[in-house]
Amino acid sequence: MLNFSLKELADLLAAKKISSVELTTEFLRRAQALNPHYNAFITLNEDLSLAQAQAADAMIAAGRVQPLTGIPIAQKDIFCAKDWRTTCGSKMLESFISPYDAHVIEQFNRAGAVNLGKTNMDEFAMGSSNETSYFGTVKNPWDNAAVPGGSSGGSACAVAARMAAAATGTDTGGSIRQPAALCGISGIKPTYGVVSRYGMIAFASSLDQAGPMAKSAEDCALMMNVMAGFDERDSTSLQREPENYLRDLEQPLKGLRIGLPKEYFAEGLSADVARAVEAALAEYRTLGATTVDISLPNTKLSVPVYYVLAPAEASSNLSRFDGVRYGHRAKNYGDLNDMYSKSRSEGFGAEVKRRILIGTYVLSHGYYDAYYLQAQKIRRLIAQDFTAAFQKCDVIMGPTTPSTAFNLGEKSGDPVSMYLSDIYTIAVNLAGLPGLSIPCGFGDNGRPVGLQIIGDYFSEAKMLGVAHQYQRVTDWHQLSPKVM
């Protein structure tokens, strides 16, 4: 049952072959058993989860069933959830109990889904390995020596190790797609503005976007139906007609033009990842798609541009964590400045401090034009690259990451090498486009490889269909790691 799709679980629940309390208990038991080893969850709260499960059973009994009613979903600990501890992976919020629900949480609550627990993540979503979490590293279930990726590493691990039926993530520079790839699951970052950011703790506001992480593209589509939609509390939320993301799942791929950016298959891509991606592309050709060579000439600039803009916004977004109203406050301090300084020094980890420093620097008088403004200009060029590319193709495909999961500790001492591992995912955020990752095989070391599918604005339904058609004829997404 732990391997069942969301649709299969929903059918069991609707047919009353199992109750939500039973299903939730089963996942909780597994999560409780595995978590000491994998550390995928920062907070499990059986009472809160089971109360929701009981409410879901009442909904089902009353015939008010929606597609996700009664299904336990793990929530990234970046989403504020009423009465749940919400830490964002930081000591700063170690004991913060949220008094309100994020829009995403509200949407799942309305759908009758069960919050299974809050998943581990890089501190304030700053990281690509989950190693910056104050609550410890997360192990990759496929290989315990490897990182699960980040920042949504806990969610990826929880889904891969079948501790949750599905999970949420957020993606600022690849934080859904990269851990999905490294843990062998499916995940989609929607077009910027499709999912409300209200109640999602901000890292870089102009890049942050929430999305689903699940076993398959079909599961992601079901999740998208719950998560997407206009919210007047987020001024960047887009007012659009509601979409059914299951709409295009069965669309045949004949005539689909797949763009292959030469920059994504160049130096730096490891051979085993390239092989798995090539095999996937061959499968797509078999399904009737054609491939076309394209170029995204500013790809190389995306990492430096990102590391100006994201820290700039973060340095300001994280100013509210000052120890005055909530969050960590130093025990002993002198004057006001000392209180700020000590509380923030103690509350934030090294990577967060590094980015606050970078961001403060690039926004400072005399540097703003050279860094921030320049980066904004290049950001527009990067977006234009994609616009030009979509004249020639319907979707873009390539590897999600240059290599399979690296080892725990391998890059944590070398931030720049860590930053460069996001080379294929970052440009998508800068352009505000949707991006998806699905498993497409394994590397030489037995660790999963992800295939990235990038679509034009608002083409999530089409992309999910493109992914689903591949998953109909392959079984990479059905494989799960042997857990201890």
């Binding site: 919020l93 008094p99 007047e232 509390r233 340095s315 300001s316 100013s319 005055v324 926004l363």
Partner: protein, 484 residues
């Protein structure tokens, strides 16, 4: 040595919206601390700002009223600094592209009109308040005011004396109430001025170094602070000193300014566009709609009063000191179209003086415009003299009668215009005042006035003064002629 004082003002007007600029919390003044601060105002993790349309409309009203340019788009920017009453660690303001640019205000100082140009007006949020008493060595924070909408109106350095600065501030104060965007309550901080003051030698073109006096919340303080500051700068320069750019505070007890911080320790606010708020676009239709809803503006009214009623610039300005005053005047003139000048004199004279003495607003004047017009009509048709009319006005003010006519009839205060009756009184006075008559005959003109006084006294003030004059003169001449 002759010095020229140069002054520019930054005025913070609190916009009269019911809710805050970026949240739904109430803006009402005087509530218990922190009872009007919602999740957005206290900057919980994950919350987002949503712009209040009412604040935008009010800013546009001001922009149109001063003939400024309404920018579309305008941009909200974050002004970053740490202070306990600033919950987000940044203030949302406008920096590079404010909502209003340019425009001007016409002021009248000692009968001379002068144009003060505006640089800009921008929207921003107010901070909370630190409470330093009652907390035993600690500080309390009240966030009720945090997020209150402000429009900061910045002038060019066009004023040359404290009198001009006060005239400008008063004109602006009247204007913002006139167009209904601010209640103008200075005690509650709804209208606060910062004054940028510098001095230069007469004839010098380059501006001197300025110092900014913060937070002046009365016109008297504004005048005192500028006078002190300008004299201090002149003295400093004459003694061979230099002015350092600085922010200064005004001590209203000692009537002096004191430096708060110098340019060296000025903050680097690291302004950048707020990624949570989209560029603010304003349609032509919205501008047209707001334009149509604006009342006739003081400047237009003044011109009309001078053209239509032949009033002096001084009277026209006085009558348009507030919208209520102008409405009162116009209501009176509507009933007495031929007596506009008399209406103006009475409204700016007797009515204004009584209101002022009793600290009442003209909107609640005990003598209504209709009552005043009734009285002025009786003066015009000769029923009462101007002198008696003042006592009738007092009676109306004290609500001793409903209308002037009733009161005059009741007390028999009608003017005596019957020449026979006046002649009789004049004869009696001449007979009883031989000495003055003799003096007059000896060429002492002053004696005539005394005799007029006697006539008026004998008639209990009711004799038509012009007639009394004429008859007395005629009789004295006849008397003189006979005597010779």
């Amino acid at each position: 040595m002759n010095w020229e004082i140069v002054i520019g003002l930054e005025v913070h007007t609190q916009l009269s919206t019911v809710s805050k600029i970026f949240s739904g919390a109430s803006t009402a003044f005087g509530a218990e601390p922190n009872t009007q601060a919602c999740a957005v105002d206290i900057a919980l993790p994950g919350v987002l700002p949503v712009l209040n349309k009412g604040a935008v409309e009010r800013a546009i009203r001001l922009g149109l009223a001063v003939g400024g340019k309404i920018n579309s788009p305008s941009i909200f920017a974050r002004k970053n600094y740490f202070y306990p009453d600033l919950p987000k660690g940044y203030q949302i303001s406008q920096y590079e592209l404010p909502i209003v640019e340019g425009g001007s205000v016409l002021i009248l100082v000692e009968g001379v009109q002068k144009t003060v140009r505006l640089t800009r007006a921008h929207l921003e949020e107010d901070a909370g308040k630190s409470l330093h008493e009652d907390f035993h060595g600690m500080s309390g924070i009240d966030l009720n005011r945090a997020g209150t909408p402000l429009l900061e109106i910045v002038s060019e350095p066009d004023m040359r004396s404290s009198a001009e600065a006060v005239a400008y501030a008063k004109t602006l104060h009247s204007l913002v109430r006139w167009i209904g965007i601010c209640d103008g309550n200075m005690q509650e901080g709804s209208f606060r001025c910062d004054a940028n003051v510098s001095v230069r030698r007469l004839g010098e073109e380059k501006l001197g170094t300025r110092r900014e006096i913060k937070n002046l919340n009365s016109f008297r303080f504004l005048q005192q602070a500028i006078d002190f500051e300008a004299q201090w700068q002149i003295d400093t320069l004459e003694n061979g000193g230099k002015i350092q750019q600085a922010t200064v505070l005004f001590d209203s007890d000692k009537i002096e300014t004191r430096a708060m911080r110098s340019k060296e320790d000025a903050h680097d606010y690291r302004y950048f566009p707020d990624p949570d708020l989209l560029p603010l676009k304003i349609s032509e239709a919205m501008i047209a709609e707001i334009k149509a809803s604006l009342p006739e503006l003081p400047q237009a009214k003044q011109s009309r009063y001078m053209d239509e009623y032949g009033l002096s610039p001084y009277d026209a300005a006085a009558l348009t000191a507030s919208r209520e005053m102008a409405e009162y005047f116009e209501a009176a003139v509507a009933l007495l179209p031929q007596q506009a000048k008399a209406c103006a004199n009475w409204v700016t004279g007797e009515v204004a003086a009584r209101l002022n003495r009793e600290d009442k607003d003209i909107a609640v004047s005990p003598v209504s415009a209709v009552q005043l017009a009734g009285l002025l009509k009786l003066i015009a048709d000769g029923t009462v003299s101007g002198k008696i009319a003042k006592s009738v006005f007092d009676a109306l003010w004290n609500r001793e009668a409903e209308t002037a006519k009733d009161f005059i009839n009741e007390r028999g205060l009608q003017q005596i215009s019957d020449s026979g009756a006046i002649e009789k009184i004049v004869d009696d006075v001449i007979a009883a005042n031989a000495q003055q008559v003799a003096d007059y005959r000896a060429g002492k003109e002053k004696a005539f006035n005394s005799l007029v006084g006697q006539v008026m006294k004998a008639s209990k003030g009711k004799a038509n003064p012009a007639q009394a004059n004429e008859i007395l003169k005629k009789k004295l001449q006849a008397y003189t002629a006979v005597g010779n």
